[in-house]
C-alpha cells in the first residue's frame, strides 16, 4: 500500500474526541527494577498506534497494564470515558480489549478451535450445559471456521489441527484471529512479527489492516521499523518507563525515531509527551 493511502485512511481518525483508551502517570516496580515511571498513553478510536522503545523500556509492562495482565502500582486507566481497573486479562476482554501477547499465549497441545475459544467456551443449551457442563463443540467449530475465513486464513483447512503442528506464521495467524474475532473495540499486538520471516510478516501486516478496516483500534508494539512506519497513524515512543514522544510517521524519519527511542536525540518540541 502506498504512503498516500495510509494518509487517506488516517483522515477518518477523529482526534478532537477524547481518546478511546488512555493511561496517565502509570507506575510499576518489580523490586528495584522500575518498569513504568509515570507512563502516559493515548489511543484514539479507529487508529493504528505503534509503540516503539528499546528493550527494557517498559513497553510490555504498560501494555500488560492496559490488557489486564499487569496491575500498576499507581496511575489511572480510562477506557471509553470511564476509569477502569482490570484485575485480569478476562476483565479487559469483557470490555472489548483483546491482546496478542508476545509469545502468543496459545495452548500448544490443543486444537485451533480449542485455542480460539480458550477461556470463553460455549456450553450446550439446557441441562447438558448447566448440569453436565457439556461444550457446544459444533457451534464453536462453525464460528471458528467463519472467523478464520473472514480473516483470509482459509488455508488452515483443518481447524481440528493441533496448534504445535502449525508453522510460526500460522500460529501467529491463529493468535491474531482470536484477538480480532473477539476484540470488539481494541486489539493490542505485542511483537506480532517477532518470530516471523519477511513473507509471513507481510501476511500479518495485511491482517492488521483488515482488522482496522472493521473499525477496531489497534495498538502495535514492534521493533520492526519498516512495519511500524508502513502501518501506523501515530507512533508512541517509549523510553525509561515513560512516553517521551508522539510522532506521525510522515513527520519523522525512521532513523530519527530510533535516535529518540535510544536517547541519542531529543524529541522535537512539538512531539514531546
Amino acid at each position: 500500500m502506498a504512503q498516500e493511502d495510509i494518509e487517506l485512511m488516517s483522515v477518518s481518525v477523529d482526534r478532537t474526541k477524547p481518546p478511546l483508551l488512555s493511561a496517565r502517570n502509570l507506575h510499576k516496580s518489580y523490586g528495584r527494577v522500575v518498569a513504568m515511571n509515570g507512563a502516559d498513553f493515548d489511543l484514539y478510536e479507529g487508529e493504528i498506534l505503534a509503540v516503539i522503545g528499546d528493550n527494557g523500556a517498559g513497553k510490555s509492562s504498560m501494555i500488560g497494564a492496559l490488557a489486564g495482565a499487569v496491575r500498576p502500582d499507581s496511575g489511572k486507566i480510562v477506557f471509553d470515558g470511564k476509569e477502569v481497573h482490570f484485575a485480569s486479562p478476562m476483565e479487559a476482554r469483557e470490555q472489548g480489549i483483546e491482546t496478542v501477547f508476545q509469545g502468543l499465549a496459545l495452548a500448544p497441545a490443543l486444537t485451533i478451535v480449542d485455542n480460539l475459544f480458550l477461556g470463553r467456551e460455549y456450553r450446550q443449551p439446557g441441562l447438558r450445559g448447566t448440569i453436565f457442563r457439556a461444550l457446544d463443540r459444533r457451534r464453536m467449530r462453525a464460528e471458528a471456521s467463519k472467523h478464520l475465513s473472514d480473516l483470509g486464513l482459509a488455508t488452515i483447512q483443518n481447524i481440528d489441527q493441533v496448534v504445535e503442528t502449525l508453522s510460526g506464521g500460522q500460529r501467529q495467524g491463529v493468535a491474531v484471529a482470536r484477538a480480532c474475532a473477539f476484540g470488539s473495540r481494541v486489539v493490542i499486538l505485542d511483537e506480532p512479527t517477532a518470530a516471523l520471516g519477511v513473507k509471513e510478516s507481510r501476511k500479518v501486516l495485511e491482517l492488521i489492516r483488515d482488522v482496522r478496516a472493521r473499525g477496531i483500534s489497534i495498538v502495535l508494539i514492534s521493533h520492526n521499523m519498516p512495519l511500524v512506519f508502513e502501518l501506523a497513524d501515530r507512533v508512541h515512543v517509549h523510553r525509561l518507563g515513560r512516553r517521551i514522544a508522539q510522532v506521525r510517521p510522515s513527520d519523522i524519519t525512521m532513523s530519527d525515531a530510533v535516535a529518540i527511542m535510544t536517547g541519542a536525540m531529543e524529541p522535537p518540541p512539538d512531539a514531546a509527551a
Binding site: 495482565a69 499465549a105 495452548a107 490443543l110 461444550l135 483470509g152 486464513l153 501476511k203
Partner: protein
C-alpha cells in the same frame, strides 16, 4: 479481505503424508500404546497359547490392574498439568486406614466411613495443591515430602497393625463391596473394576467435553499462556490436586475390596506403578498432552505383559525388565514427537 492469505513455512522439508501422520499422532496420542497392546496380545497368544485368552485370565488381569489403574487416572490429571504426584500411594493407604479405623474401631456406619475416608484423600490432595499452586514449589518436591508425611500418618493411625478381614466382615462388610465379583461365564469381574471403568469414563468426559478439561490441557501445555488467555490457572491446579486426592481415597476403598483387609503396608510401589501406566499410555511428563484412555491402555499393557510373561514361565525379573524397556521407549517417543513439532 477477499483474497486468500496462505501461510508458508509449514511444509519445509517434510512431505504432506508424514505431516499428516504426525498430525494424527498429535491429535490421537493413544494410537501408539494401543498398537503396543495389540502387538503384545498377539505375541502372547502365540507364546502362551489358550490359557492367555481364557476369560478367567483376562478378568484376572483386569482385577490386577484395577487399583493401579484407578490411581493412574489420578496421576494422569496431575501429569497433564506438568506435575507429578509421588504421594498417591500413601494417600490411598491413608484413606483405607481411615475407613477401616472409623468403621471397625470407632463403629461408624461403613458408608459414612467410606465418605470420610475419601474426604481424607481429598484433604491430602488439597494439601499438595496448596504447596504447588500458592507456594509454587515443584510438585516433585512437594509430593516427595507429603509421601513421607502421609506415610507417617498411616503408621500413627494404624499403629502398624492390620485390620483383619473377619473384623471388617463382622460390622463393615460394605467396605469390601468393591471386591465382589460378578460372573460372566468363567470371567469374574469385580464391582471395583466396573467402578474404575466408570470413573475413567467420567474423567474422559470431563477432560474432553468440558471447558474445565480443556483448561487442564492448556495449563499443562503452557501455564503463562493459559493465564493470559484468561484461565484461572490457580483454580485449575487446585481442583486437579483435590480431584486426584479424592480419586486416591476412592482407590483406598478398592484396596480394601481387593485384599479384604486394611493393611498399613503395601502401596509403596503404587506411586511408581501409576506413573509407569501413565507414561506407557502416552501421556507426556512435560504436561499438556495425553489421555485417560491412554492411561487405561498403559495399565492394561503393564498388566498383560506381567501376566503373559509369568504364564510363559519367565522369572519375575523379566517382567521388571520389560516394563522398564516399555517406559524408556514411551518417553523416547514422546520426546521425539515434541522435538519434531518444534
Amino acid at each position: 479481505m477477499a483474497d486468500e492469505i496462505e501461510f508458508p513455512g509449514a511444509a519445509t522439508g517434510r512431505s504432506a503424508l508424514s505431516r499428516r501422520i504426525l498430525n494424527h499422532l498429535h491429535a490421537n496420542p493413544t494410537i501408539i500404546p494401543l498398537f503396543v497392546l495389540v502387538i503384545g496380545l498377539i505375541i502372547f497368544s502365540f507364546v502362551v497359547g489358550e490359557r492367555f485368552f481364557h476369560p478367567f485370565n483376562l478378568s484376572l488381569v483386569l482385577q490386577q490392574v484395577t487399583i493401579i489403574g484407578t490411581v493412574a487416572l489420578a496421576q494422569t490429571l496431575i501429569i497433564l498439568t506438568a506435575g507429578i504426584d509421588l504421594s498417591v500411594g500413601a494417600i490411598m493407604i491413608l484413606s483405607s486406614v481411615a475407613m477401616g479405623k472409623l468403621a471397625v474401631t470407632l463403629g461408624y456406619p461403613p458408608e459414612i466411613a467410606l465418605l470420610l475416608g475419601i474426604g481424607v484423600g481429598g484433604l491430602c490432595g488439597w494439601f499438595n495443591g496448596i504447596f504447588v499452586t500458592y507456594i509454587r514449589l515443584p510438585p516433585f518436591i512437594v509430593t516427595l515430602g507429603t509421601w513421607s508425611v502421609f506415610s507417617a500418618m498411616v503408621q500413627y493411625f494404624s499403629n502398624g497393625e492390620t485390620i483383619a478381614q473377619r473384623d471388617i466382615e463382622a460390622g463393615a462388610e460394605f467396605l469390601q463391596w468393591s471386591g465382589e465379583a460378578m460372573k460372566f461365564g468363567a470371567a469374574r469381574v469385580t464391582t471395583g473394576s466396573i467402578m474404575m471403568l466408570m470413573l475413567a469414563g467420567f474423567l474422559w468426559y470431563m477432560l474432553n467435553r468440558t471447558a474445565f478439561g480443556r483448561h487442564i490441557y492448556a495449563v499443562g501445555g503452557d501455564q503463562e499462556a493459559a493465564r493470559l488467555s484468561g484461565i484461572n490457572t490457580k483454580r485449575v491446579l487446585m481442583s486437579v490436586y483435590l480431584i486426584a486426592g479424592l480419586i486416591c481415597g476412592f482407590a483406598g476403598w478398592l484396596m480394601i475390596g481387593r485384599i479384604g483387609a486394611v493393611s498399613p503396608l503395601g502401596g509403596e510401589m503404587t506411586n511408581l506403578d501409576s506413573i509407569t501406566a501413565v507414561v506407557i499410555g502416552g501421556t507426556s511428563l512435560f504436561g499438556g498432552r495425553g489421555s485417560i484412555i491412554g492411561t487405561l491402555i498403559g495399565a492394561l499393557i503393564v498388566g498383560f505383559f506381567r501376566n503373559g510373561l509369568a504364564l510363559a514361565g519367565l522369572d519375575v525379573l523379566w517382567q521388571e525388565f520389560t516394563v522398564g524397556l516399555l517406559i524408556i521407549t514411551a518417553v523416547s517417543f514422546d520426546q521425539w514427537l515434541r522435538r519434531i513439532s518444534n
